[in-house]
């Protein structure tokens, strides 16, 4: 069934390894889990995020019943913060009858800055956020 849905979407998953400046990316259209993990500090983050935004928009045309955005970032720069907001906005736009979107925001214990960053997005975007404290990302 998953395969058929996948063909219907004509989509491929994104699996990118992390680099010292960009997070690992695992966007899965078969289970609706999209994950960013690591650090995001490119000088120009638009180049990096544009294809990811396009993927989510396309996924939104034929999404899974639930979509989970897993944000497991150690840190990100201000250029990325804007791109993250764009992802949240796209997710907000696809949230509704076709799919139910949830955000899981991970932060390391004692990392008040990343916790605050998650809360800031939570305040700006009307999506359910789950804040998850972990030992290490």
């Amino acid at each position: 069934m998953f395969k058929r849905e996948n063909q219907l979407n004509n989509m491929e998953n994104i699996n990118l390894g992390g680099t010292p400046k960009t997070p690992s990316v695992n966007f899965n259209c078969e289970n609706g889990v999209i994950e960013l993990k690591g650090r995001s500090i490119p000088e120009n983050s638009v180049e990096f995020y544009k294809p990811l935004n396009n993927w989510i928009e396309k996924y939104g045309e034929n999404p899974q019943k639930t979509t989970v955005f897993e944000v497991k970032l150690e840190y990100f720069n201000t250029s990325s913060s804007k791109c993250l907001l764009d992802i949240f906005k796209i997710l907000e736009s696809i949230n509704g009858t076709a799919t139910e979107v949830k955000v899981k925001w991970y932060f390391e214990k004692d990392d008040g800055d990343m916790q605050e960053a998650g809360e800031d997005y939570q305040a700006l975007i009307p999506l359910p956020f789950i804040m998850i404290e972990v030992e290490e990302i």
Partner: protein
């Protein structure tokens, strides 16, 4: 430059507990190298993950400011004898003088932008933690991204992460440029 001045320079840097110093153009490669060096130094020196992250974060924003916003291009006449070309040169000094860290940067800013930048910093310095957070959120939400991929949030983020006021000055250079000095203290 006399040979003695090498030792003087060394002593100055030693006295300031400099970790990394650099003068030149901040290219993407340079930026990556400095981050790499600092990450490994912080990994050895700094026990607190929280502080390590803060220093790294502030450094990323400072370096990217130097990378994106450097107006120093053109020439000016020194003592009316020779034209000195001002490339996109900056200075960067990261030091660990005591139980805190300092990131100092200096770069040329075109005079037309000085007032705006100064007002921006003054505004940031007049806000408390909560107000800074609100300002960050409002610019994040309403602000447009420039073509260079800058969001106009760098200095606010630096102030938020460092928890200190931004120390700065503008030194007049000539009819076109000022030299912008910034010192960020992280403790």
């Amino acid at each position: 430059m006399s040979l003695n001045s090498i030792y003087e320079l060394y002593q100055t840097m030693e006295r300031d507990h400099a970790m990394v110093s650099f003068k030149g153009e901040v290219t993407a490669d340079l930026l990556n190298s400095v981050l790499q060096i600092m990450e490994s130094k912080l990994g050895i020196l700094e026990k607190s993950t929280r502080t390590r992250k803060k220093v790294y974060n502030v450094l990323v924003e400072c370096l990217q400011n130097l990378y994106h916003h450097n107006d120093g291009i053109g020439s000016f006449r020194e003592q009316s004898f020779s034209d000195i070309y001002l490339p996109k040169t900056s200075i960067l000094i990261i030091s660990n003088p005591d139980d805190y860290y300092e990131v100092k940067t200096g770069n040329f800013v075109s005079l037309t932008k000085v007032k705006q930048l100064e007002e921006k910093i003054e505004n940031i310095n007049n806000l408390n933690r909560l107000q800074l957070r609100e300002l960050y959120k409002s610019i994040l939400f309403k602000g447009e991204m420039s073509q260079k991929g800058t969001a106009g949030l760098g200095l606010i983020d630096i102030a938020r992460k460092s928890g200190n006021k931004l120390e700065y000055s503008f030194l007049p250079i000539d009819e076109n440029f000022s030299f912008f000095c910034l010192n960020v203290k992280i403790n």
